[in-house]
Symmetry: C2
Subunit: 356 residues, 2 copies
């Protein structure tokens, strides 16, 4: 059996002369990313599996999220720091959408040999920044060599038993709310994909795409006060995510173009075809919270929460259709035209190119 490892034979990338071994990579991850024992986590990384000790009266909330080169990001245009940050932010946003508080995460990381050096260090810097920002501790993981960067994060949080906000609780008459701004992440992505990202005046427009902020405190507050009857995060676009919420709840929805907190688009970019309404309706990866509130409880909701605007954009209806009321009052069906990984043709409405 004198064959070379299979992995080396199928690979066509140039192999560095000094590729670190697996133990070295795991040691670098452990140094870069917070991982320490606690009452919740009695064992840190390095064993077969992680241990998790449940706090009293709490339920665990689990989610996994993949972040893959050429599918979800492009190494050529996306900084490694943003890739590391976002891998975690995306997963944590799912916890926010349940109202949970993040605790630990598991990291599965596939790397080409030529990304095990400086690229990995920058990636880990972004990951560590997100872990600190969201108060997450690394509990374990898996590493392997692959032809493109492959990241999968399992994020685990907790919440008081019975308080998690599902997608299925919306009822006709409930008001529909959206946190923050809609379409800002898609605008940033499009600027990058079209090579417009270098213009200095537009640099700040990239931030919502590169470093989105999951609405953890808002999600947890809405759950704790039982204000949200249904909730999810806008990862695949408002139209698609609203459709999901309505399907899970067995309802429809009517939203108003005039109410949408659409991203502000500079005049020059509008002239290049960037349309705030289309971005707001179908742009992916905002990671804002889309939630419904029973009419009687709407008065308990502040206009802003921790500086983030909470905007009523419409209401839940009984007939299971999505309707968009235009600025002129005309009503038209709203097609879910956000992101679907397996959809082979563009949706009926105009769909922005996206990499969710």
């Amino acid at each position: 059996m004198p064959e070379a490892p299979y992995n080396a034979r199928v690979r066509n990338c140039t192999v560095n002369l000094r590729v670190p071994d697996e133990l070295d990579i795991i040691a670098r991850i452990a140094r870069a990313v917070p991982s320490h024992t606690s009452p919740v986590l009695p064992l840190t990384i390095g064993d077969d599996a992680a241990l998790l000790r449940p706090p009293r009266g709490k339920q665990w909330v689990l989610t996994c999220d993949a972040f893959v080169e050429n599918v979800h990001f492009l190494a050529r245009v996306h900084p490694a720091e943003a890739v590391g940050y976002k891998a975690l932010a995306r997963a944590v946003s799912d916890l926010a959408a349940m109202g949970a508080t993040p605790r630990v995460f598991l990291l599965t990381l596939g790397l080409p040999a030529d990304r095990t050096g400086a690229w990995l260090n920058r990636f880990l810097r972004g990951l560590a920044r997100a872990a600190r920002a969201f108060d997450l501790v690394l509990a374990g993981g898996d590493t392997f060599r692959s032809t493109a960067v492959f990241v999968s994060v399992t994020a685990i949080g907790d919440i008081v038993g019975g308080y998690a906000v599902k997608r299925s609780g919306a009822r006709p008459g409930d008001r529909i709310y959206l946190s923050g701004i809609a379409g800002a992440a898609e605008l940033g992505l499009q600027l990058i994909l079209r090579g417009l990202a270098r213009s200095r005046s537009w640099k700040t427009l990239l931030r919502p795409h590169l470093f989105p902020v999951p609405r953890l405190k808002l999600g947890s507050w809405l759950a704790k006060h039982r204000l949200a009857s249904a909730m999810l995060d806008t990862s695949d676009g408002l139209s698609t995510d609203l459709d999901r919420l309505c399907r899970a709840s067995g309802t429809g929805a009517r939203i108003f173009a005039a109410l949408l907190p659409a991203v502000k688009v500079p005049g020059e970019l509008r002239r290049r075809g960037f349309d705030p309404l289309q971005l707001a309706l179908h742009g992916a990866e905002d990671y804002e919270l889309l939630f419904t509130v029973p009419r009687k409880r709407v008065h308990k909701l502040p206009a802003r929460f921790g500086g983030v605007p909470l905007t009523c954009i419409g209401e839940i209806t009984e007939p299971p259709q999505l309707l968009l009321v235009g600025e002129n009052g005309a009503v038209q069906p709203l097609q879910p035209a956000g992101w679907d990984h397996f959809r082979s043709k563009p949706a009926q409405t105009r769909k922005p190119g996206s990499l969710p």
Copy 2:
């Protein structure tokens, strides 16, 4: 923004005319793989995240494991059923190595468009078979389109607080045990890679590679009776995994070639160069348990457990080296020559080609 979805633009695979959408794929996963609510799992798949209600006095045990085309398996030679089965079996083996009982799993699944049909159905059949065999319920997941099949499983089990068996508990004088047969999975892999798998008389030799059996009951029994002082599963090869156990424990080890429960190799295959000792020492993916037992407790260990032989193969030593005592009594250093994903050159000793 009339661009095609980015995903479609970077892809060079042939796109089927009728590719199912993401909701359809999720629905098929839900139909094929066990997922039902229970006191432990109050919410099934389809929401932002899964909920997990902890049983009293138990700790959770978490592990994640990637299984990627062209890295861990080859679609051209590995049946889709085996890919589905093994994706779960590998992760569950990590739970066995802690002594935990499997409960739920999360599935991250990246698929090329041309694998969303019959291939996916067969994959799900294998996955479901493993889920039933190991008593696991699907709790959530993530799907996306990719150029090669990408699977990542997060498996979650539980164990009575304080009973999990770590890698770090081995002490000098402890006896080293191995369950089952060593090198059988590597023999199966090599037969497949060399095109020898079609010979009818060798068909049964493929089974340990295609459908390995994680030692869940043994792991749980060893933990419950506090017999194992340290334990892991042999996923990357006995020499590499023993090295890991010893590094974690701060010890060395001496093992005896004459004691190794090496795979039986038919005469014709021996003549083709298949060597039982090399397969047993360095062959990957057996998913047997490698554990240490304090000398005074060795008499409590049966010779077989549930039909699986438990073999003493050596002892833990104080000096931190791995030594191999040959059949002739000659002692030589044992190089960890099993699988390391990032090692660029073959190890010093002969290394079987492997796809762990």
